[in-house]
């Protein structure tokens, strides 16, 4: 808490403070440094619940002010690396791993060597001299402020996204679902504990927050153009409307508008790192519905990273970015496995057991709802080979799931019946078979009808292909991970070439579907989390 050479006058430490606990009731009027260029602010753009580096409610503008006032980090900043490494060490502690096994791989990811590899950094303490951070005519620098929207139901994703971004020297605001589970809570605890040994710059530059989505009561009352949503009341308005803003203005944010309502809101940013979002045309005066945290953070950030389903991405995209800022979206994806039937049939029992176990992990760890979990298994071979292999595989898989002690509850069992029966009713499945509640097998009529939606934990569609090449006709843009067994690298590379970018971001062995890598969905995250400055 010492060494903070840049105290911000607009806040005061709490008693017993460790230097990062600030009162949240500071007057809005004292803050003027960061106003987003859009005039005075409402008191009520929305408070957020800060969960890291401290716990407490803070106005979103105040949060941004604090971060803007923080000292800058550099790419691969040693202070941040030390902190991440410490968090990793704590995550790998046996008692943590016992309670939250999924944190072990996260802990592994946060080892120094992994971090350096992930960020493409040279080893050592001089990140700025050579290597990725600054070689030749380019100097790699942070993006600036990165706003991460984490998915509600995979507790660890926010850490990967945040850690890589922090490692690249960014200031980060991570919006974590209030519904996030016990593992997220455990991570936050550990991160807060690790602060004690960290350089204060960590606490100054990083925020993890939660806030509610405010729903508008009457939708129609908020049908004005998008741009106006970002208008903030003038000081005079504020004085008049202070009392009302809390109760009413919040209602206008986030998901309160239907697409229809937003129709006239201007172009939305295109996806991808190379897009240049349309500017926010928000000069028109108006009474100003205060914008919620998502709107404020979107307008303030240099890069917005959205993890979640298609709906989440579309909802968040309604909030414009600053003209120079970028959007990086990770929407719904689908994944499948491909197995050469003969390779399976010729494999040793030990290999089969290992493959089945890897497949079980890929599929069941996140209730088969992770985007990289396989939904369909394509068998390559003759009809007889494929049939026999499929049955043998099902038996091994059921055993693997049983060995791990995973079960499927009644509600999920019913869900699976509904989904499997539905595919039969639709005429895309010839047969559905159940091995207890943990495993439902749906035999598709043709490979082309492979379902992309979630069918319930442990529901696998199966289809036969004569050759791997035929997969090229099945793959769509939405398809992310292909897990494989029994194919040579050349064949898989041939498939990727044949696809020519029409789909598939990852082709990895069965058992590796859930592994996180700096390159995700075809995006090199550390590269996206930084910029290159040309120096000649």
């Amino acid at each position: 808490m010492t060494g903070d050479a840049d105290p911000t006058p607009a806040r005061a430490p709490e008693e017993g403070s460790d230097g990062v606990r600030y009162r949240s009731e500071q007057g809005a009027g004292s803050r003027s440094r960061f106003d987003g260029g859009a005039g005075a602010r409402s008191l009520s753009e929305g408070a957020v619940d800060v969960r890291f580096p401290f716990e407490g409610a803070v106005g979103v503008w105040e949060l941004l002010d604090d971060m803007a006032a923080a000292p800058r980090l550099v790419v691969g900043d040693e202070r941040m690396r030390a902190f991440l490494e410490d968090v990793g060490r704590r995550l790998r502690a046996p008692e943590v791993a016992r309670r939250h096994p999924e944190l072990a791989s996260l802990g592994f990811f946060l080892r120094r060597s992994e971090l350096e590899r992930a960020a493409g950094l040279p080893r050592g303490d001089e990140p700025r001299q050579t290597g990725a951070a600054g070689a030749g005519e380019f100097l790699r620098v942070p993006r600036g402020l990165v706003f991460h929207v984490a998915p509600a139901n995979v507790d660890t994703v926010f850490v990967y996204s945040w850690a890589l971004s922090a490692l690249m020297g960014n200031r980060n605001v991570v919006r974590l679902s209030a519904r996030a589970g016990g593992a997220a809570e455990a991570i936050l605890d550990i991160m807060r504990q690790a602060l004690d040994d960290a350089d204060p710059v960590v606490a100054r530059t990083q925020r993890i927050v939660s806030y509610e989505h405010h729903r508008a009561a009457p939708r129609k009352s908020h049908a004005e153009p998008f741009s106006k949503q970002l208008e903030r009341p003038t000081a005079a308005d504020q004085a008049l409307d202070h009392r009302q803003t809390d109760s009413t203005n919040h209602a206008s944010v986030d998901h309160s508008q239907s697409d229809h309502d937003r129709h006239d809101s201007g172009k939305q940013p295109r996806t991808g790192s190379v897009s240049h979002p349309q500017p926010v045309a928000s000069t028109a005066p108006g009474p100003g519905n205060a914008a919620g945290p998502t709107a404020v953070l979107s307008a303030a950030c240099d890069l917005r990273v959205i993890w979640g389903g298609d709906r989440t991405v579309n909802e968040i995209r309604r909030h414009p970015l600053a003209p120079h800022a970028l959007d990086l979206a990770f929407p719904d994806r689908s994944s499948f496995a491909v197995i050469r039937a003969r390779a399976w049939l010729e494999a040793t029992p030990a290999t089969r057991e290992a493959v089945a176990d890897g497949f079980a992990v890929d599929a069941y760890w996140f209730d088969q709802a992770a985007c990289s979990s396989p939904g369909t298994v394509f068998w390559v071979g003759s009809p007889t080979e494929c049939h026999v292999a499929r049955d043998g595989f099902a038996a091994c898989l059921a055993e693997a799931v049983a060995r791990r002690g995973w079960t499927v509850d009644t509600a999920m069992a019913v869900e699976k019946r509904v989904a499997a029966y539905g595919l039969a009713a639709d005429g895309v499945a010839d047969a559905v078979e159940f091995r207890g509640n943990v495993l439902a097998q749906v035999i598709l009529t043709t490979p082309g009808v492979a379902p992309r939606r979630w069918l319930g934990t442990g529901t696998f569609a199966h289809a036969r292909l004569s050759s791997l090449d035929e997969l090229a006709d099945v793959v769509r843009r939405k398809d992310q991970t292909l897990t494989h067994f029994g194919f040579a690298r050349e064949e898989l590379a041939g498939l990727a070439r044949a696809l020519g970018g029409r789909g598939l971001d990852r082709i990895v062995p069965i058992g590796k579907a859930l592994g996180f890598h700096r390159v995700w969905d075809g995006v090199d995250l550390p590269a996206e989390f930084s910029r290159l400055v040309t120096i000649q």
Binding site: H213, T312, R333, T410, A411, M412, V414, G422, A425, G427
Partner: protein, 417 residues
């Protein structure tokens, strides 16, 4: 003629051929259903009710399942769906539409008698007048066919209209009369009247979830209504729009729900899916011979229940209780897979301030706590439905006898006239 006559064995004997015949009829007349049976490899002969292939009741939300050509569809019933969920759609032809109110009346005749009774409705008149009929409204409307001189206990503002009830009692209070209402509303409004309802026969449904929140179980419900209103003839019932016309009716002593002769229940072990013995809770499968125009004759519900006894109650056959609704399956994952990803955990209930949740299918947030421990024989008043949330709480009131409508224009509840 009573529809509570068949012992378990006789019922099996009577139902199996009829249900098997329906299975074959639907297999051929409803192609999606036929494809499901083919995919699961189900074929006759079916020797027991429990051998018949069941359909998850939610299939009526996800698929259009009917066994009559479009031209012969006389009425389409829809259930109220939870936010974001599609409602069930149940297709009735003229024959099925005629059969269901008849069989409902036959079932309730057991406790109401042959004559149409004066009727007190624990609801507001506006519920049946709304432009779009809610499931609750449809339920009330269907029930109204069974009574006469309909009097609503609540005025249009939702306040108890004591004067109206007093006038009703002055006219009819000396002889048996019918009281109908949703369980929660009955509890909320009937007791405060402070009137003598001892000649009344109360028929109620809609579930115990809201009462369970107030720690009111069926025993308390019956006991308090008896002591405060003199109301002793009380019958809960369980039914669903997907088996319209079939209700499972609580016996006079409150010792469980009984099956009419044309229906039955099978409790299934949720692991093995085999029939569970009495006393062992499981998923409720309901069978009925009424669904002739759609394959709803053998349905696996998402309600948990338990059979308390067989051929040991006041009426023959099985008697059972509904224990609660299965939670909706939740998945982890990185996408929006389940529910509204960003809209908070609980689904909105329907608009009505008090009755809404009784007709909205709001998925419970947690599985039922514990199955009932004590067999109901222990006390005649013991409620089989005393525990936790009740499944029926999430069920729409079965629209018993919808207003008639011309083919094709029915959209909500049962039918918009």
């Amino acid at each position: 003629m009573s529809v509570f006559t068949l012992t378990a064995d006789d019922r099996e004997w009577a139902l199996v051929p009829r249900l098997a015949e329906l299975t074959e009829r639907h297999r051929h007349a409803c192609p999606p259903y036929g494809r499901i049976l083919a995919a699961i490899g189900s074929h006759g002969p079916y020797e027991r009710v429990a051998d018949l292939p069941w359909l998850p009741v939610r299939m009526f939300k996800t698929h259009e399942l009917r066994s009559v050509p479009k031209e012969e569809v006389f009425r389409v019933l829809t259930s109220s769906g939870t936010t974001g969920q599609r409602p069930s759609r149940v297709h009735l032809d003229r024959h099925a539409a005629a059969a269901q109110p008849r069989m409902l009346a036959a079932t309730l005749r057991e406790v109401l008698g042959e004559r149409r009774l004066p009727m007190l409705i624990v609801d507001t008149r506006s519920v049946v007048r709304a432009a779009t009929l809610s499931a609750r409204g449809a339920g009330v409307l269907g029930m109204m066919n069974l009574g006469r001189d309909h009097t609503f206990v609540l005025d249009d503002g939702g306040e108890v209209d004591a004067a109206a009830v007093q006038a009703f009692l002055a006219r009819h209070g000396g002889r048996p009369f019918l009281i109908f209402g949703f369980t929660y509303m009955v509890w909320l409004h009937l007791r405060e009247l402070g009137l003598d309802l001892s000649r009344g026969v109360l028929i109620h449904s809609g579930g115990w979830k809201k009462l369970a929140e107030r720690a009111v179980d069926a025993a308390e419900f019956r006991g308090r209504l008896a002591s405060e209103c003199g109301l002793t003839r009380i019958h809960d019932f369980y039914g669903m729009v997907e088996q319209i016309g079939t209700i499972f009716l609580e016996g006079p002593e409150g010792d469980g729900l009984y099956c009419p002769d044309f229906a039955d229940v099978v409790i299934r072990d949720p692991e093995t899916w085999e029939e569970a013995p009495p006393g062992v809770p499981g998923l409720i499968e309901v069978v009925s011979t009424l669904p002739t125009s759609y394959p709803g004759h053998v349905l696996l519900t998402e309600d948990l229940g338990v059979i308390h006894g067989v051929d040991d109650g006041i009426w023959p056959g099985k008697r059972f209780s509904v224990l609660g609704r299965l939670p909706r399956a939740e998945a982890r994952g990185c996408s929006d897979t389940m529910g509204a990803p960003t809209g908070g955990a609980s689904d909105a209930i329907m608009g009505d301030s008090w009755g809404g949740s009784m007709v909205a299918r709001t998925p419970p947030q947690a599985p039922p706590q514990t199955p009932p421990q004590a067999p109901p024989q222990a006390s005649p008043q013991a409620s089989p439905q005393a525990n936790g949330r009740d499944a029926a709480a999430d069920r729409p009131m079965p629209p018993t006898s919808p207003r008639t409508s011309e083919r094709g224009d029915a959209t909500d509840g049962t039918a918009a006239a």
